[in-house]
């Protein structure tokens, strides 16, 4: 039973790792830079492992969600500024995910994506309203495994693996590209791998599922095995784009283009899986971001939150979730291209990251809270190195955005 639980958690973490941000950024960067930026995805994955391990441990030991603790450690004023920034980024990501589901459904049905948006938003709300937390999480994660179609396509392309690995381990900026754009996309990939909502969701999910100290092993296995395997999936998206799109000079601007290598190499069945994977991954992430909008506000103000109680027991939480879904769907319905929303949301994720990373790092060291489960020396060394990286990426992101005109 324990093995089953661990396996399920790992599979969920793999399928749940990829969202619209990873799909778009990896496809776009792979088509333009090959695998020469894969190091940024690897770096972001190590970062999200550290970050999720800390916040999962904090959730299991204290039973408190991320924003509950952010306010305690930063005070109400900085905590509120933090809440506003994180909420806006999460809301933007929610809009991108809803748009992603709609775009994937458009590819499957050729019905315009804008017609899908209200339906998707309603269905999201219905699931959040009615379905048990663990079913939501596991269902979306498992279906998201259909994205393994990218791995299958990569295998069918019979690439020269040596040369791909060489591109990853000895990164080399393509000669025609400018260095500032190269680093701009490095930050985008980093932000796509290390999205703040993943951690709000992960830690709040730990509280929802009533983790205790005993669950720490399971939590660690989920993170330390599941996330790196999920990152392999991200890299296979970039590799497919590198092999098929880059030689043809295709600049990625749509979700359809990102799936073309799979069609080209692996055929109709793989494409069917791929579209299922697109829908599941973005829908799952939309559930997570929608809930995270509610979690963050409710936790800051101390309201009852969570799906472990009846909706009427957590009325303000459910109202925030409902309004966030309406707002995000509204943003997509303005016909702003969801792929563009995604490109900005991953960069703003990188900007907002230190705001929640820092308090979690402090709390996971707090002897009053954590007792013997506080960070060890090795953990703290790694976490401090990442604190510096995250701050540098955050500070550099917006100047680079202006300088490169968002990567042009």
């Amino acid at each position: 039973m324990k093995i089953f639980q661990v396996a399920l958690g790992i599979l969920t973490a793999i399928g749940g790792f990829v969202d619209i941000g990873d799909l778009v950024t990896n496809g776009l960067v792979g088509a333009r830079y090959g695998l020469s930026l894969a190091w940024a995805t690897v770096l972001g994955t190590v970062g999200i492992c550290l970050y999720a391990e800390m916040s999962g441990r904090v959730a299991a030991v204290t039973g408190r969600g991320t924003f509950d603790l952010v306010r305690e450690r930063l005070g109400p004023r900085a905590g509120l500024a933090n809440l506003i920034a994180s909420f806006l980024v999460t809301g933007l990501t929610l809009a991108a995910e809803i748009g992603g589901v709609a775009l994937a459904l458009e590819l499957a049905t050729s019905v315009n994506y804008l017609l899908w948006v209200p339906l998707v938003a309603f269905f999201l709300w219905l699931l959040i309203w009615r379905v048990k937390f663990s079913y939501l999480e596991n269902g979306a994660g498992l279906l998201g495994l259909a994205l393994l179609a990218f791995g299958f396509a990569l295998w069918k392309l019979h690439p020269d693996y040596g040369s791909l690995v060489h591109q990853v381990v000895a990164p080399h900026k393509p000669g025609t590209e400018r260095l500032n754009s190269y680093f701009y996309y490095a930050i985008a990939l980093f932000g796509a791998a290390m999205t703040p909502y993943e951690v709000f969701f992960f830690s709040s999910g730990g509280v929802e599922e009533k983790w205790t100290r005993k669950d720490l092993m399971v939590e660690r296995a989920n993170v330390l095995i599941g996330f790196p395997l999920g990152a392999m999936l991200s890299l296979s998206i970039a590799a497919c784009a590198t092999l098929v799109l880059k030689p043809r000079g295709i600049e990625v601007s749509t979700l359809g283009q990102i799936g073309l290598p799979v069609a080209f190499a692996a055929g109709k069945v793989a494409i069917a899986f791929l579209i299922l994977g697109f829908v599941a991954a973005t829908f799952g992430a939309a559930l997570e971001t929608g809930l995270s909008c509610g979690y963050s506000i409710a936790q800051y103000f101390g309201w009852q939150w969570g799906k472990f109680v009846k909706p009427r027991e957590a009325s303000r939480f459910h109202l925030v979730v409902l309004l966030s879904l309406i707002g995000a769907a509204g943003l997509v319905l303005t016909t702003i291209d969801p792929v563009k929303i995604t490109e900005y949301s991953v960069v703003f994720s990188a900007v907002a990251l230190p705001l929640t990373y820092f308090p979690i790092l402090v709390i996971s060291n707090d002897p009053d809270y954590m007792g013997d489960k506080k960070n060890g020396r090795v953990m703290n060394f790694g976490a401090t190195v990442f604190l510096v990286i995250i701050v540098v990426a955050s500070v550099a992101a917006i100047p680079l955005m202006i300088w490169t005109r968002a990567g042009q």
């Binding site: 509120l80 500024a81 506003i84 458009e106 590819l107 499957a108 049905t109 050729s110 098929v244 799109l245 043809r248 000079g249 295709i250 600049e251 601007s253 749509t254 359809g256 283009q257 799936g259 073309l260 069609a263 080209f264 692996a266 055929g267 109709k268 494409i271 069917a272 579209i275 917006i398 955005m401 202006i402 005109r405 968002a406 042009q408």
Partner: protein, 151 residues
């Protein structure tokens, strides 16, 4: 964060949007040629996308709905490239006029090919679609040559 700071943040956001958008005037022939270069690359990308989709479909590897969406998005991409390029005011030099004429011709041909492919695809005339798409590599090469000349 005070309200004043919120307002400043909004203004900053608007400024950011303005700074990262791309249309504008090209004051020199060099700048104009640079924009033409980017437009040519984007147009070649749209053509190659259509070609890749048609090739996949010809192998029986792609659903019709997926094909149609990719084709119409490629056509939209090309349309916006064309529209953006046309909206740039070229500097008053013969070199700039030459660049403009050349790229306009290429863009018009690309638009017509993509429209033909879309039409044949929607009519399920697969043979005609494949035949039209066979013209893409030659045209894409012309865009590439143009892009290299304006780099």
């Amino acid at each position: 964060m005070t309200l004043g700071r919120c307002r400043r943040l909004l203004m900053f956001g608007a400024l950011l949007a303005a700074l990262t958008s791309c249309v504008g005037n090209a004051a020199t022939t060099g700048a104009y040629s640079g924009k033409a270069h980017l437009s040519a690359e984007a147009a070649a990308s749209a053509l190659q996308t259509a070609k890749l989709a048609v090739d996949s479909s010809a192998k029986g590897n792609l659903f019709d709905s997926y094909l149609e969406i990719v084709l119409s998005q490629a056509e939209d991409d090309l349309g916006s490239v064309q529209q953006q390029f046309d909206s740039i005011q070229p500097p008053n030099t013969t070199e700039a006029d030459r660049i403009r004429d050349r790229l306009d011709t290429l863009l018009t041909r690309a638009a017509s090919i993509l429209a033909d492919i879309r039409i044949t695809a929607r009519r399920d005339q697969q043979a005609a679609m494949i035949k039209t798409a066979a013209g893409i590599p030659a045209l894409a090469d012309k865009f590439d040559t143009f892009a290299e000349a304006t780099a």
